[in-house]
């Protein structure tokens, strides 16, 4: 199963890039966008972090197993 890494870019005075070394396995690569959108929505709904006062200013940068960027998703696009 292909594994995708959901790195998070967030506004920070320095180094606003939280690298994902673990990744998520997806049975079907076609589900990737929906998976990332769901993850972003879930975070916006329930994850209260001091470091991130506004999730809408964050984005996911998704890479595949060889490190190629396969999707960039601003959280603002995850909101319908």
């Amino acid at each position: 199963m292909p594994r995708y890494f959901l790195h998070l870019r967030y506004p920070a005075s320095e180094d606003g890039f939280a690298r994902d070394d673990e990744g998520d396995e997806l049975t079907d690569p076609d589900d990737l966008r929906q998976h990332v959108v769901d993850t972003a929505r879930d975070l916006m709904r329930s994850a209260r972090l001091k470091a991130i006062p506004d999730w809408l200013r964050c984005s996911f940068e998704v890479t595949d197993e060889v490190g190629a960027v396969v999707l960039t998703l601003p959280f603002s696009e995850a909101v319908k």
Partner: protein, 236 residues
């Protein structure tokens, strides 16, 4: 058996009176506690109580959306509290998240020992209260604290239960503990790492500055640990 010659590293057992410990000792069986070993299945008869010497077990609610951790038990405690209350099962799963070793005792042997010794039963009931306080503090932290503080609390609770400063946990597991999606944990760890409080490698978190971690956890950490020491009359 030469159990008497083995030093007891479990703080709950060690806090028993010499008589009560001697009462249990013939029934204590040394066991290794492997990663992901299930100690108690939800809603199944509890056959043994476990007293870890090393390692950490998670108590989880296995909801349809996945497991969420509602408690941790290590060398300060005992897995199998319902037995102390005269109850033979629990809806929560108990399994090892950090491997180690410890002692186990058959449920009926523990029941018998408690029936013979009121002081043993009373002492274990005090631990039930300490455990109840921990669960209540988890509820408090979940309602009151942001992810950074909750993460700091959980890391401190793990740090209390491992030897040294290395905590072998994945972000995925911590996400499960805290009931948030993994990226929420990754970013919080990234923030803590930026503050030089921890070092995070794949599957391994090293505590660099415990004092700062306690500061970050704020009100989310400390009350249940202090209460444990008070109830069990052990030094933290």
């Amino acid at each position: 058996m030469q159990l008497q010659q083995v030093p007891i590293g479990n703080r709950l057992l060690a806090s028993l009176s010499a008589d009560d410990l001697a009462r249990l000792q013939p029934h204590l069986e040394p066991v290794s506690l492997a990663l992901r070993q299930v100690l108690i299945e939800p809603n199944m008869p509890i056959e043994h109580a476990y007293f870890p010497e090393q390692g950490m077990s998670s108590v989880t609610n296995n909801s349809s959306g996945g497991k969420i951790e509602v408690g941790v038990i290590g060398q300060e405690g005992m897995i199998g509290l319902p037995i102390v209350l005269g109850i033979d099962q629990t809806p929560y799963e108990h399994f090892m998240q950090i491997p180690g070793h410890g002692w186990r005792i058959a449920a009926h042997d523990l029941e018998q020992a408690m029936a013979q010794s009121r002081s043993l039963h009373r002492h274990l009931l005090r631990y039930v209260q300490a455990s109840h306080v921990q669960a209540s503090e988890t509820a408090f932290a979940n309602a009151n604290s942001d992810i950074e503080a909750r993460l700091a609390r959980w890391l401190l609770m793990c740090h209390d239960r491992v030897d040294g400063d290395d905590i072998p946990l994945t972000h995925e597991f911590i996400a499960m503990m805290l009931g948030v999606r993994r990226p929420g944990v990754t970013v919080a760890l990234h923030v803590l790492e930026g503050m030089r409080v921890i070092r995070a490698k794949r599957g391994l978190i090293t505590v660099l500055d415990r004092e700062k971690l306690e500061e970050l956890a704020d009100e989310a950490y400390g009350l249940s640990e202090t209460e444990y020491s008070r109830l069990m009359k052990t030094e933290a």
